[in-house]
Amino acid sequence: MTISGTHPDVVVIGAGALGAATAWFATRAGLTVEVVERGSIVSGTTSACEGNLLVSDKEAGPELDLALLSHDLWRGELGELGGLWEFEEKGGLVVAATSGGMAGLTELTERQRAAGIEVREVAADEIHHYEPHLTPELAGAAFYPQDCQVQPMLMAAHLLRLARQQGARVRTGTTVTGFLRDGDRVTGVRTDCGDISAGHVVNAAGTWAGEMAALAGVDVPVLPRRGFILVTEPLPPTVFHKVYAGEYVASTQSSDEGLQTSTVIEGTRSGTVLIGSSRERVGFDRTVSLSALREIASKALALYPSLAPVSLMRTYLGFRPYCPDHLPVIGTDPRAPGLAHVAGHEGAGIGLSVGSAKLLVEAMTGATPTIDITPFRPERFSLQEVS
């Protein structure tokens, strides 16, 4: 059965941040778009994260290039829309507890500065000018003015709305059950509501993108990495930047299976303070680990002792889409022409969504890529490359 009257240029699978950004850039490029989503809009990892646009946790390399491209887009092409999704150039403050940690942070900032990241060192006795509530027991910090924050659900929902205004169609409650094929070529999707044939099919299924790729017969190793976030009662402005411990960068790059926690704290427009973070490779297990929550709280209090009496109203968990080499998957898939992927951004998908979507749409339309896309190619994990 074919859903009548629809032959879009692009079908996007997934209505999260990546799917929404892809829909928006595709409609801007003049393509007709349909988004299919098995749940509701923004119902996956987009609704279970913090909305970070970070350069501070990156070093020279393809992910930094993508982050800087995204940063330019958030401020430039999407700059006028920032108010819709609480875009805030709040800056990030990375703190070091010990002089050894500060030495490591200083080395990192030197490399980052050489790579084009804006960063300034903050002496221990200056930290309170940035964050008056931070513990005085710190060796130093580094401030990254380019670090930003958005409200991720509003961001994705508004990009979908704007795409719809350009003619895109969003079908929620529609599950992709297979792909239409012409030989190796992917020519559309089968869904539980009917078939949709399309010029391109974009796998933007987030943490479930690996399963979706498998359905198309190609290997894209996106795996879940669980994280918890604590949410405080609404407070007056208390945490002014995105504040995190220097160890956070190491933990984002680690591939350990066990529980890792590293402190990330930020305020929101609604007055709540979001406190993370944890990383565990436990599949899609939704059971709440009290020990993980306890460790997050304990580490946060080491940085912000005065938050001790503050109430937590809730906690939520999410599954970061994680690739073994910690790089996202962006691009058309030569193993299945007609299929493209944009997924696997781990904890950085919100910030990187716009750069990723722009690059993908360039790839699909044959435009000159703004930056080199080959480090993100989806087939890089396949056996042929290893041998």
């Binding site: 309170h128 008056p132 509530h133 931070l134 513990t135 005085p136 009662e233 609404p234 407070l235 007056p236 208390t238 007055g271 002792p305 005065s306 938050l307 001790a308 009496p309 503050v310 109430s311």
Partner: protein, 91 residues
Amino acid sequence: MTDQVNLTFDGVTITAAAGQSVGAALTDAGIRSWRSTRRGDRPRGLFCGIGVCFDCLVTVDGRPNQRACLVPVRDGMRLESGGLREVSARG
């Protein structure tokens, strides 16, 4: 006759019957709101009256965000109206 206790609300003394809740004491004193909302700066007091809605938050002896409907009065108790908790710098 029940025991009377004295407490203060924003510095003004009110009396209550021992065993009453702070919310009941304020109600009997004719005080119907003691908190303002974050977004609209609107007055709030008792609503659900049984600890569910958190509308009746009040500062009790310096501890913010106590539910007035659940906290029993105590002689000498200090109640303060207000809004959000202030987090002390470098506490």
